[in-house]
């Protein structure tokens, strides 16, 4: 469960470059909610992710996860509760370490790290089992260096590492944007499968409108640091891209300024 209260964040305050990144954001995710976030470039989507994950601290407002106030908690401490997948497939894994070592690090996420061996036989069996759910054959390559995997495989592994410890919140930051269409579809399907399997409370940023409509039970649209549209469970099923774009125009009086959003 995630709750954002009155979040406000300004960059370069007091200079000519001042930019209000987030303006009084209120958002509540109930347990099991899967919310997709769309919006043009500079709408504040990434800042929102960074505030939730603790990379940035909000100027005003508070963040609650599982009814704990985590607003001032450091990024690494908060990561015990949050699983994250980044846009860059290279960002979510350690390239010079093996698949099983990467999984072992993810396995220790919500535990205290000790001087016990990272990859034990018991854990290796477990890793093999969870890797099978990716259907990529990675379970037979436990000792391969992750740097040797393709972008799609690495992103699938990142997704698994972010989720298999069942975090309270899963944050997906355009995690299919850097992949070719076939790979992107694979990751999208895996995302759907995994989120359902563990019943994860998920927030997903995407530029792909179709993906935003296909996945999840709720949708929010952001612009200039504000949430300008919230679509709930029932309405979302019947929504089309055209309706979304029209809605944006109706609220803002301009066309949505994102080529990527329009083309995809």
């Amino acid at each position: 469960m995630l709750q954002l209260n009155q979040i406000h964040k300004v960059f370069n305050e007091g200079t000519p470059d001042e930019k209000i990144a987030l303006d009084t954001i209120n958002l509540t995710l109930n347990e099991g909610d899967f919310v997709t976030v769309i919006g043009s470039n500079g709408a504040g989507k990434s800042t929102l992710m960074n505030i939730i994950s603790g990379v940035m601290i909000p100027d005003v407002g508070s963040v609650f996860i599982d009814s704990h106030n985590v607003t001032g908690m450091s990024e690494y401490n908060r990561s015990k509760l949050i699983g994250r997948v980044f846009q860059d497939p290279m960002a979510g894994t350690a390239p010079s370490m093996t698949i099983e070592e990467n999984l072992a690090m993810a396995y220790s996420r919500n535990k205290t790290r000790t001087l016990r061996t990272g990859v034990t036989k018991k854990r290796r069996d477990y890793f093999r089992e969870v890797l099978e759910s990716l259907h990529l054959g990675l379970e037979n390559r436990l000792n391969a260096k992750v740097g040797l995997l393709s972008g799609g495989e690495r992103q699938a592994l990142s997704l698994l590492m972010a989720t298999f410890t069942e975090p309270s919140i899963l944050l997906l930051d355009e995690h299919t944007a850097a992949l070719d269409p076939a790979r992107a579809e694979l990751i999208t399907n895996l995302t759907k499968e995994i989120v359902q399997k563990y019943n994860l409370t998920t927030l997903m940023v995407t530029h792909n409108m179709q993906q935003a409509l296909d996945l999840g039970n709720r949708l929010i649209m952001m612009d200039k640091g504000q949430i300008i549209l919230e679509v709930d469970d029932g309405q979302k099923q019947h929504l089309t891209i055209e309706q979304l774009l029209n809605e944006f125009q109706r609220i803002r009086g301009t066309k949505m300024a994102s080529d990527r959003a329009l083309l995809s």
Partner: protein
């Protein structure tokens, strides 16, 4: 000749501990840590001063290890909490340690001759066992009777110590904390998103690295019979040379293999330097120049080898297309394609 090589081998094994420390900071943490030049002397200074004032030499050596650990941790703290560039924080600590080392020793050189050290203890113990005469008998049989080392005890003792440290390092890097430490050098953002405190990891890693360096310094002081405030100059380069030479010669497939390679590199480096110093026109003062040259060569050679290989491959391909141009011009394209696909 062989006596010199035995000597080089012996000190190479001790320097290997320092090289393992450099491997930990330079390769595992991806942190070019210049503290090494200072912490090596800190280890020597602490051990020598304690031994001269009557402490148990083994206890003094272990204390030196802790002194190095603290020095490394401070570099880590300067870097992480002070947000000072990695190279600069190492240099700052190195400079600071110069004064601290002088304070510890009270003068610029502490001689350890005619003093009981860990090395003399081992030698005395070993002499009683009489294994030396056995080994020497074997060597004499193969015709090396005139180049016997002073004692086998030190070499074997240091081999055991160095390999123990190597195995402990290998084990540690496979523990949960060890994995997080390696990931800190590999992908900081990722391991932070997996709830590891990367600042603590950098501090811990530098601490362990400099603990090994100081330990090595303490042993070198006892082996050489003195601690000198200038004995650490260029130590980081010697460590780097060992790491690079070792990795190039013995490979880096697994961690256990790499740490073994680093030890091998340290020994080979010592032997190369010893051989180089036997060339007539070189003097002991040229040592640092030789080191710098070896490191530069070790860094450049793999690239040059790759380039010549690539050139040869290109030349081959070019030779292939020359043959094609001799064919009737009408079939040139087709034949060219055919030949290319064959090669």
């Amino acid at each position: 000749m062989f006596t010199a090589i035995f000597g080089a081998f012996e000190s190479g094994i001790i320097y290997a501990i320092m090289a393992l420390g450099v491997y930990l900071s330079f390769r595992v943490l991806d942190f070019p840590d210049l503290t090494v030049d200072g912490s090596f002397v800190t280890g020597a200074a602490v051990a020598a001063t304690m031994i001269v004032s009557g402490a148990n030499p083994f206890f003094a050596t272990v204390t030196a290890l802790f002194a190095g650990f603290i020095a490394g941790c401070i570099t880590g703290i300067i870097h992480t909490f002070g947000k000072i560039n990695a190279l600069l924080s190492g240099i700052l600590m190195m400079i600071a340690l110069y004064s601290i080392n002088l304070r510890i020793m009270g003068k610029s050189n502490v001689p350890l001759l005619n003093t009981e050290t860990a090395i003399t203890h081992v030698r005395d113990f070993w002499d009683k066992t009489g294994i030396d005469s056995f080994f020497n008998a074997i060597l004499s049989m193969v015709g090396l009777g005139d180049s016997l080392p002073r004692t086998w005890g030190i070499i074997l003792f240091m081999l055991v110590v160095t390999l123990t440290i190597k195995f402990l390092t290998d084990r540690f890097l496979k523990t949960e904390i060890g994995l997080a430490l390696r990931a800190t050098g590999d992908n900081k953002r990722m391991i932070r998103s997996l709830s590891a405190n990367t600042n603590m990891m950098v501090i811990l890693g530098l601490g362990l690295s400099n603990a090994m360096v100081a330990f090595s310094g303490a042993l070198i002081a006892q082996q050489g019979g003195f601690a000198d405030v200038g004995m650490g100059i260029g130590m980081i380069i010697i460590g780097l040379a060992s790491v690079i030479i070792g990795e190039a010669l013995f490979g880096t497939k697994t961690i256990a293999r790499t740490t073994l390679a680093v030890i091998g590199g340290a020994i080979i480096y010592r032997i190369v330097v010893t051989m180089a110093l036997r060339v007539e026109f070189l003097e002991p003062g040229d040592m640092k120049l030789i080191t710098a040259t070896i490191v530069i060569l070790a860094l450049i050679m793999p690239k040059i080898i790759d380039r010549t290989k690539e050139k040869k491959r290109k030349a081959k391909r070019l030779a292939g297309s020359m043959n094609i141009s001799e064919l009737p011009s009408g079939r040139k394209g087709e034949a060219g394609a055919a030949i290319k696909s064959d090669s």
